[in-house]
């Protein structure tokens, strides 16, 4: 224990006080946070809201992006047009059934993304945690939408209802989890929690978060979230499952 007492500074009570005072102060000094609290903060910095803020800070500070911002904005503004053009081009060269399959299949969705990356760097921007809100709806809802609806949303930007956006984010998180992209799944869940703090699928998002953390090997954090989940949602249908999980991992 450090003791900085000098001629001006009195001896600390934990050394100089009565036994009762010493006991109280020693207990206060000994209290320490649980280690998973620190891990949660660091995890959030990487994947959650704080992370997005850090990312935003970097984006602001990066000279490259500062210079390229007008170009990037131009490309983003043009991207719906490019997307429409690309879709029309695809429509002309592929059978309707195949097109439908490609746009509804999550694995094929990545192919569409790759094609888009060639014409505009949208995919890279969307990997930013602090991506513009305008981009969230079309990107998040793409896997569940038909090509025409997707085009419309790309053009109109914000026409997708909040409910649909919620479903899209949850579905995206599930899809990432199914593909064992745990950190991407956590990012989707985090985006959902941030965008829809009173959303209809908060319980599902929390449950997905626990699953993703467990699969990613962060059992401590998952356990913390599990306890918090039970406290916050005592009547949840997920409760039994989570309690059983907690029993197996005390």
């Amino acid at each position: 224990m450090k003791n900085h007492s000098s001629s001006q500074e009195p001896e600390r009570l934990v050394c100089d006080g009565s036994s009762f005072e010493r006991a109280l102060l020693a207990a206060g000094r000994a209290e320490a946070p649980r280690e998973d609290g620190l891990h949660q903060v660091l995890a959030t910095l990487a994947l959650g809201s704080a992370g997005s803020l850090v990312a935003g800070e970097f984006v602001r500070r990066s000279l490259f992006l500062k210079w390229s911002r007008p170009i990037l904005l131009g490309l983003l503004a043009a991207s719906p047009i490019v997307y429409v053009a690309a879709s029309v081009s695809l429509a002309a060269t592929r059978p309707v059934r195949e097109r439908w399959h490609r746009t509804t299949s999550t694995t094929e969705d990545s192919v569409v993304l790759t094609e888009k990356q060639e014409v505009a760097p949208r995919a890279r921007v969307e990997e930013l945690q602090s991506k513009p809100k305008l981009l969230q709806a079309p990107m998040a809802s793409r896997p569940t939408e038909s090509p025409s609806l997707s085009r419309e949303n790309s053009i109109r930007g914000r026409t997708t209802s909040s409910f649909e956006q919620e479903i899209a984010l949850i579905e995206a998180a599930k899809s990432e989890l199914a593909q064992k992209n745990f950190f991407a799944a956590l990012a989707k869940v985090s985006a959902y929690q941030q965008d829809f703090p009173r959303g209809s699928f908060l319980e599902e998002a929390d449950a997905l978060q626990m699953d993703a953390l467990t699969m990613a090997g962060n059992i401590e954090a998952a356990r913390t979230y599990a306890r918090r989940f039970i406290a916050l949602h005592p009547k949840s249908p997920y409760r039994d499952r989570i309690e059983r999980w907690l029993v197996t991992r005390p």
Partner: protein, 197 residues
């Protein structure tokens, strides 16, 4: 670590600036690791319930993550202290306003490693008693007392953190210690009287 991976994606063009930014993130992580306990304990002793302390600490570091580029090197603790102070006051206000009963026992019931149930209970009681005494102190005295007596900061450091003259800190500390000793004496007497019944 996943954070590095994520930020590498963000900073795909590997410019000098991006490398400097990654180094900045590493520094931020070091600061968080170095000061997490301090911030958490400070929040607790400034009246944030155990169940809310993790979230409050998260808030503090979220603010830091937003502004870390503006925090002068070596002044991180002072900055974190200032934010923690505001977060603690805000959290206390909210909990008073909503009169929400925090699930303190649930968190405190978690077993601490390497101590017997009796020791845990004693420590828990002592902490509750300490918080009870601190709660009875005016906030400005409590802050100085906590930093000096529990966080081992010097009066000069406290003066810097609180942006107060040294004389004011010394005066507040003296009053805080007197009040604490007086309150502790009263509590001790009351406890003895209760045990004697």
């Amino acid at each position: 670590m996943n954070r590095d991976v994520n930020l590498t994606v963000v900073l795909a063009p590997a410019s000098e600036e991006s490398r400097a930014s990654v180094a900045g993130t590493k520094h931020a992580e070091q600061v968080i690791r170095a000061h997490y306990d301090f911030v958490w304990r400070l929040l607790r002793r400034l009246g944030v319930a155990a169940a809310a302390a993790d979230d409050a600490a998260q808030q503090v570091f979220t603010v830091y993550s937003r502004k870390f580029s503006k925090v002068p090197f070596g002044k991180e603790k002072t900055f974190l202290f200032g934010v923690a102070l505001r977060v603690a006051q805000s959290t206390r206000r909210k909990s008073f306003a909503s009169a929400k009963i925090v699930a303190e026992p649930a968190i405190d019931a978690l077993p601490a490693a390497g101590s017997s149930p009796e020791e845990q209970l004693d420590a828990h009681r002592a902490r509750v008693a300490l918080d009870h005494l601190l709660e009875a102190m005016p906030f400005e005295l409590r802050t100085v007392f906590v930093l000096y007596e529990l966080e081992d900061m010097t009066m000069a450091e406290i003066a810097t953190c609180l942006a107060l003259p040294n004389g004011t800190v010394a005066s507040r500390l003296r009053r805080a210690r007197e009040l604490f000793q007086q309150l502790a004496q009263t509590l001790r007497a009351n406890m003895s009287a209760t045990e004697g019944r």
